[in-house]
Amino acid sequence: MAGFLARTGMRDWLFAYVGAVTVWLVTVMIADGFGAMQTLTAGLGFAVFYVLVATGQMFVIATGPGNIDLSIPATVTLGAGVAMSVMAGSDAMIVPGFLAAIATGIAVGSFNYALIRLLRIPPIIATLSSSFIVQSTAIWYGRGLSIKPPDALQDFTFARLQGVPVMALCAVVFTLVMAVVLRRTVYGRSVLAIGQNPKAAHLAGVDVERTRWITYTLSAALAGFTGALFAGFSGGVSLDMGTQFLLASIAVVVIGGTSVAGGKANLPGLWGAAMFLFLLVTMLNAAGVGSGVRQLLTGILIIAVITAAGGEKRGR
């Protein structure tokens, strides 16, 4: 059993799901069995956004220690702003709007990569610095004004199939595709190789720089895309809409079982972790605890999940 868990990588992400289910059960108990399914539905709706940004963050983190994308929140906001102004409330412009958001992300990602590569700035600082610039751009671009999304987009984000958000179904498909990209494409394997040992990867014929560029660009493009979708879901852009994704993107990735030491990533964990985080807050809200205690418990539970999952086994 242990061997099976280890081999399939399930050992890494199982605990996120165990955590999510536990928290959910407690919530249902607190609410006297009230709204059990609706809670899950609401959670799935929000998990979509977490999972999307975390997917990009995960690829970045997997490229090795020190790699992290802090520009995600700013990119979400800018992407949302660009998309909404391109769409300008018209259903016909939805696709161009999304493309514009993705293009914005690609630009930000390339800029991040250029800072890291050309100026050799540690990624954490490079993306932090660029996030300030992107944030300024978003302010300058949007002037803090909120533009409404097209109706069709809004309807899509609220659509349900058998009580499951359609958006979540699409995102699950996306996750599956990305899982294949990670395991079965040369790009995905290159990410994992670089994450373990960039020098060895280079000597083993991996195009290290191209892989890193794609990775940072992927992360930012997903952030831009998520921004556009999120603006549809929340009925418009606001300058602070990205902020919540900073800690969330990192927490979802790591609770989901991706190693911050690099070289290891897994996608199923993202959903478990995203649901865990959402349901955790719900549970504490439902229990009606004060904000101090809520934060305290959030912290303790995050540590508990990660401790239960245990660290990586040391090599010999």
């Binding site: 050799r120 954490i124 300030f132 751009t137 302010i139 934060q295 305290l296 660290g311």
Partner: protein, 311 residues
């Protein structure tokens, strides 16, 4: 002995950046070039210097501390409440907090956990505790502490004096003592350290406790300067301390740290923000330019590195 240029340039970069910033500020605002001026410019750097050193101690074992901002906030909140009202309990809480930091280090080592996530979790814990200790902004820093940070030593502003003393002490402890070597070695190759019979558990706990101690000092001095606190006071110190430490030449791959560099890095981070205020930018771009300055300084480092590397 010949001079290692590469190392020299690396080490002197934060100092160069600091000098450049100071010159630019003096040029924009000659008034800053006085005792009072320097004092105003730099007195908020004292807690940042401590926080950056805390971050550096954690970086020493190759970990990253995302909780230091929350911790400093928590300490400040305790300072304006318990330490002011019941000093004995206040001191006990602070000592327990340092022990808490060491315990986090122990947990990370024993369970082989990624520090970045554990400290991320701890940032919620510290923030939550801060809100519990001080639910709404207020409190009053003990007078002795306020007086201490308002000290005007003759000739040299307190912030500069403090920076020098802290930097030198840190340097002695980590770079010069025989114990410091073991602590840094643990970041470079933990296996070699264990094979030499040292306990990684004790090493990690020591470094985390040192980080906790620095965090406490940061919280105390911060509370001294602000005279009262709130639960969101210093959350930003997390990123600030990381940026300062990296700017000062520390690296994420363990064991390569520099206490003096960290102090200088913290000063640069403090001054960079001030410098912007002197520039009178359009508010839209004030935030962006902070990013640009960070990029500039680090790019300079990369450039100097490359030049030095070609020697």
């Amino acid at each position: 002995m010949t001079i290692d240029w590469r190392e020299l340039v690396r080490a002197s970069l934060p100092a160069l950046a600091l000098t450049a910033l100071l010159v630019a500020i003096f040029w924009l605002q000659p008034r800053a070039m006085s005792y009072q001026g320097l004092n105003l410019l730099l007195n908020l750097s004292i807690p940042i210097v401590f926080a950056t050193l805390a971050q550096m101690f954690v970086l020493t074992v190759g970990d990253l501390d995302l909780g230091i901002g929350g911790f400093v906030t928590f300490v400040a909140c305790v300072t304006v409440t318990w330490l002011a009202d019941a000093p004995l309990i206040g001191v006990l809480i602070l000592v327990a907090a340092i022990a808490g930091y060491a315990a986090v280090g122990a947990l990370i080592e024993l369970r082989n956990l990624p520090a970045i996530v554990v400290t991320l979790g701890m940032s919620f814990v510290w923030f939550g505790l801060a809100v519990i200790v001080l639910p709404s902004p207020g409190g009053r820093t003990p007078e002795w502490l306020i007086a201490a940070v308002r000290l005007r030593p003759p000739g040299i502003p307190l912030a500069i004096l403090a920076a020098i003393v802290i930097g030198l002490l840190g340097h002695l402890l980590l770079m010069r003592t025989s114990m410091g070597v073991v602590l840094r070695g643990a970041g470079g190759n933990p296996r070699a350290i264990t094979r030499a019979g040292w306990s990684m558990l004790r090493i990690r706990m020591t470094l985390y406790a040192l980080a906790g101690l620095m965090g406490v000092l940061a919280g105390l001095t911060l509370a001294g300067i602000t005279t009262s606190a709130d639960a969101n006071l210093a959350l930003r110190y997390t990123l600030l301390s990381i940026a300062g430490a990296i700017l000062g030449g520390s690296q994420f791959t363990g064991g390569r740290v520099s206490p003096i560099g960290a102090v200088l890095g913290a000063l640069v981070m403090t001054l960079a923000a001030s410098f912007l205020a002197f520039l009178r930018l359009n508010p839209d771009w004030q935030i962006g330019v902070q990013g640009a300055i960070l990029i500039l300084v680090l790019a300079l480092r990369a450039l100097l590195d490359r030049v030095a590397g070609e020697r």
